[in-house]
């Protein structure tokens, strides 16, 4: 934090250039003599973010419907790739659990359904859980799925339910980004849907990319030892790191 004494002449200078500065006449002179402009970096950054959001909201309000919808789809994608690294890791955690399409589909669907529910509830303001509780838990959820991948070769039947529970958490995470981003009141449902579609598209892109990478080696005997377990371990380590970082 820096305090900067503003010198009298600066202000008289500007008020003479900016010719018509007044309202209360004594402000022009008395305040100038005693004026001190304080720069607080943190406060300025917060003001700037709030202003950016207001600007976005004004722009949205003036946009045609379709453009707005596409913009929210885009925002949804962007909140997975590249901004949602923890969600990417979680989805990869699911990917490395099983190569059976059916099992993977069940898990992803459970995840999607769950985060849609909490995203909608939180965006409506029905549920409000502070970020410093949700964020470390999201990190833990990544650790959980990754560790489970290492322990069991195939997923157990409870896995979709656990993933559903984690999905609820991730939905709260999306909600907090969405509320920073701003959701115009008028088209609440449609835009929420658009954002969600974007999130799904982002998830699918991650899954497809991962599938393409392992497509030709998925049946190798060493797939589990050299790919599935090491990848899951790395994911778990990153998750642990985030958990520590977000808790302390």
């Amino acid at each position: 934090m820096r305090h900067l004494k503003t010198l009298t002449f600066c202000i008289v200078l500007c008020s003479s250039f900016v010719a018509y500065s007044h309202t209360q006449d004594e402000l022009v002179i008395l305040e100038i003599e005693q004026g001190e402009l304080i720069f607080q970096d943190e406060q300025m950054a917060a003001e700037y973010q709030a202003a950016l959001k207001r600007q976005r909201m004004r722009h949205l309000a003036a946009m045609p419907w379709l453009e707005k919808f596409l913009l929210f789809v885009q925002a949804g994608i962007a909140h997975i790739i590249p901004k949602g690294l923890d969600h990417i890791l979680f989805v990869l955690g699911l990917f490395f659990s099983s190569l059976i399409l059916g099992s993977l589909l069940w898990q992803v669907s459970a995840f999607t359904l769950a985060h849609t529910i909490t995203l909608a509830l939180a965006a409506q303001g029905v549920v409000q859980i502070p970020g410093d509780i949700v964020e470390p838990l999201i990190a833990l959820s990544i650790v959980w799925v990754a560790v489970e991948n290492c322990m069991f070769e195939q997923t157990n039947k409870w896995r979709p339910f656990i993933v559903f529970g984690f999905g609820l958490l991730h939905g709260l995470g999306f909600a907090s980004v969405l509320s920073d981003y701003g959701l115009p009141e008028g088209n609440f449902v449609a835009l929420l849907l658009a954002f969600n579609i974007g999130v799904e598209v982002g998830q699918l892109l991650v899954l497809i990319a991962a599938a393409v990478l392992v497509w030709f080696i998925r049946h190798k005997s060493w797939y589990r030892q050299r790919i599935q377990i090491p990848a899951s371990l790395i994911i778990a380590l990153v998750g642990i790191f985030w958990f520590i970082e977000r808790t302390f």
Partner: protein, 719 residues
């Protein structure tokens, strides 16, 4: 010749030079030296970095001086085209960088910009001195001026010629060397005394403190007590010795700063303490100590008179007023004295109202100056109470903007379209394109309304680009900067009615800068005399208080309900509260200002107290009211640029009330014929004609004070 005026102001403050780290940048990358291929030539804010300013300023000054040299050394005989028009064309780069820099220095500043400001002010001032004191240039202008009758000049050209010549003459071009040396000496003395006056005043204001115990706080509200306790804590922290610290421990401190004093005078039930604090306020600079301002004030007045005489003027006021709408001291005195009597009459009624409250309370004293705030507040509560909080939900910023856009649309058919594809300097600064009735482009309006920590306090209008028709049509980019509270969370920003008036006011300036349509940019928009430029701003305020218009935009932000009639009625009634006092204290100070600046060079140095007393006795000021400023703390006139100019606030008010009355008389606040006249003769004309002529063309006659008296409740109609 705004540039020259600008230079003089800077010259007064050319101190404090600090060096800075120079980042050298490739000139081809400096956006100021490139074409701005932006929509409507709005500055490319995202490309402008702090390091671009200094090189652009230096290059701009160099170019400007080279252009002036080319004009002066032109072998052809001086002509309007090769001298005045070329002068108009000169300094493009400098103007470009100057507008951006000084705008952002107020509205979006940072430590680097502040440092640059200190570094630049002496450079810029020296630069414009070189031009305004250029003898070769003056000779060419003078040659053309002498031949003006034989030239075929348009009215606008004639005005530009006369104004340009006058600015050279006022800078001393017609004086001989000895006189010039005398002026320089006087100026430097004035500059020293002005600085000393300001410093003394600051010391005097900070020098007094009313230190109170817990049991001295009778009547004060909790927030005021908390603030006073905070002041004491701060003083304690700053104190160096333990003894000093003990003085403030668990105490409450009030000071003669208006922000501390007014709440105390309003709320404290301790009459003795009110008297102490008020007396400390009005005695500032008059305590016969080392920070006394009496002699400084008298010397300043005398030096100004001497300078005026050297320049060939009767008094300093004559010198100042030559460039104003009211041309002579006699006209100013006439205006002030016409208002004086009704204001004083009303003030006497207000005293009687307050005395009645005192008597009713069973006290046995006569109202004194330090009782005014407390008892006027009691009268206000009984007669005029308006709940600001109940009003605010109807006045969201978006609604008020809608109101001001609709008002100007109904007056002139102009429209506003918000643009989102233009990059401005801060996300809270909004951009609109202003179009004329026929859809043609008029200008760009930037509205930057919320307060933030890197913006200066207050409200103002300025421009990033001017208007000119000299080489093709150049349309302006204007900006309004205000300090309204930023919205909390996702709620809208709710304004007070005072904010609404400020918004309309600044928007009036913005329209003056946008509708302008002149050939020569130096006479465009708001460049007219100071006692006239407020008129286009202030007249627009009247529309904001019209019930019909209020109802069209003031709808509740949650329920959508239109503002109720009884709230409007209260609002309008409240505007007449305490006007006797406000006008009397203001007029007394204005008359004091005029008295000081109509003294003659040969008069002996005045005894400040005696002079002031005589001045106030002459007009019959009552003891219950002190002038708004006494001589020893009248910073506007002795430390600022308002000498022989404090009257201009009320002069503008006369114009706007009288001007708006024309619409009321026509029975329609959107009367199309009047609106068209107002646009054609006022908003479009800039400084291309004498201000009084412009007003008369709009109004059909000279201004009268009656409408103002009615607006302020000084016409005997207020109960």
């Amino acid at each position: 010749m705004k540039k020259l005026l600008f230079a003089i102001v800077i010259a007064l403050f050319s101190a404090c030079q600090t060096s800075s780290d120079q980042t050298t940048l490739n000139a081809s990358e400096n956006p100021f030296e490139q074409e701005w291929n932006t929509p409507f030539e709005v500055p490319p804010f995202n490309k402008i970095k702090d390091a671009h300013y200094m090189p652009a300023f230096k290059k701009g000054m160099e170019e400007n001086l080279a252009e002036i040299d080319a004009i002066v050394n032109n072998p052809e005989a001086p002509s309007f085209a090769n001298t005045l028009e070329e002068l108009e064309r000169s300094g493009k780069l400098l103007t470009k960088v100057q507008r951006v820099f000084f705008n952002l220095a107020s509205s979006n500043t940072n430590p680097k910009i502040q440092e640059l400001q200190r570094e630049l002010s002496p450079l810029i001032s020296a630069h414009y001195d070189k031009i305004s004191l250029n003898e070769g240039l003056f000779k060419r202008v003078e040659t053309i001026w002498q031949a003006r009758e034989s030239l075929d000049l348009s009215n606008e050209q004639r005005k530009l010629l006369a104004d340009t010549r006058k600015s050279f003459v006022r800078a001393g071009a017609l004086l001989n060397e000895e006189q010039k040396a005398q002026i320089t000496e006087i100026n430097s003395k004035i500059s020293e005394l002005t600085t000393a006056f300001g410093q003394n005043l600051l010391a005097e204001t900070n020098g007094f403190e009313l230190i109170l115990d817990k049991d001295d706080l009778d009547g004060l509200s909790e927030d005021i007590i908390a603030a006073a306790s905070e002041t004491a804590a701060q003083k304690m922290e700053k104190a160096e010795t333990d003894k000093e610290k003990a003085k403030y421990k668990d105490k409450y401190v009030f000071t003669p700063h208006r922000s501390s004093m007014y709440p105390f005078l309003t709320q404290s039930n301790r009459r003795d303490l009110r008297e102490q604090l008020f007396t400390s306020y009005i005695q500032r600079g008059d305590n016969d100590n080392e920070t006394d301002n009496k002699e400084i004030a008298a010397k300043l007045a005398k030096l100004r008179a001497e300078r005026a005489q050297l320049m060939g003027y009767e008094t300093h006021a004559h010198f100042v007023l030559e460039e104003r709408m009211l041309k002579t001291p006699a006209e100013v005195y006439d205006l002030l004295m016409q208002l004086w009597k009704p204001a004083l009459e009303r003030a006497k009624v207000e005293v009687a109202d307050m005395q009645a409250v005192v008597d009713k309370e069973g006290h046995n004293f006569k109202i004194a100056a330090w009782d005014w705030w407390q008892y006027s507040e009691k009268v206000r509560k009984a007669k005029y109470d308006l709940d600001e909080a109940a009003l605010k939900p109807y006045l969201s910023l978006d609604n008020v903007l809608k109101g001001v856009f609709e008002t100007t649309n109904k007056l002139w058919g102009i429209t506003f379209t918000e643009l989102f594809n233009i990059n401005v300097y801060h996300p809270d600064a909004r951009v609109w394109e202003v179009k004329d009735k026929d859809g043609s482009h008029l200008g760009i309006f930037i509205g930057d309304y919320f307060t933030r920590s890197n913006k200066r306090g207050g409200a103002w209008m300025s421009s990033f680009k001017g208007q000119s028709n000299l080489d093709g049509k150049e349309r302006p980019v204007v900006v309004n900067v205000c300090n309204f509270p930023a919205p909390v969370g996702d709620a809208p920003s709710l304004l007070s009615f005072e904010n609404v008036i400020t918004l309309f006011h600044e928007f009036g300036h913005a329209m003056h800068g946008t509708l302008t349509n002149v050939t020569y940019g130096s006479m465009a928009g708001t460049s007219g005399p100071r006692d006239f430029t407020e008129f286009p701003a202030q007249i627009l305020e009247h529309w904001a208080s019209e019930p019909e218009i209020l109802k069209s935009f003031a709808t509740h932000y949650q329920t959508g309900e239109v503002i109720p009639d009884n709230l409007i009625a209260k609002l309008l009634k409240a505007s007449k509260f305490n006007q006797g006092f406000a006008n009397t204290e203001y007029l007394a100070a204005s008359l004091l200002d005029m008295d000081w600046h109509t003294i003659k060079a040969e008069d002996a140095l005045k005894d400040t107290d005696a002079f002031e007393k005589a001045s106030l006795t002459k007009i019959g000021l009552i003891d219950e009211i002190a002038p708004r400023y006494r001589s020893t703390y009248f910073a506007h006139i002795f430390a600022g640029g308002y000498s022989a100019g404090y009257y201009s606030y009320v002069h503008s008010a006369v114009l706007d009330s009288d001007g708006f009355a024309a619409f009321k008389e026509a029975g329609n606040v959107f009367d199309s014929e009047l609106a068209a006249k107002l646009r054609k003769h006022v908003y479009e004309k800039g400084a291309t004609e004498e201000a009084m002529q412009l007003y008369e063309q709009f109004r059909g006659r000279q201004p009268k004070i009656d409408a103002l008296l009615k607006v302020r409740g000084l016409d005997g109609s207020t109960d």
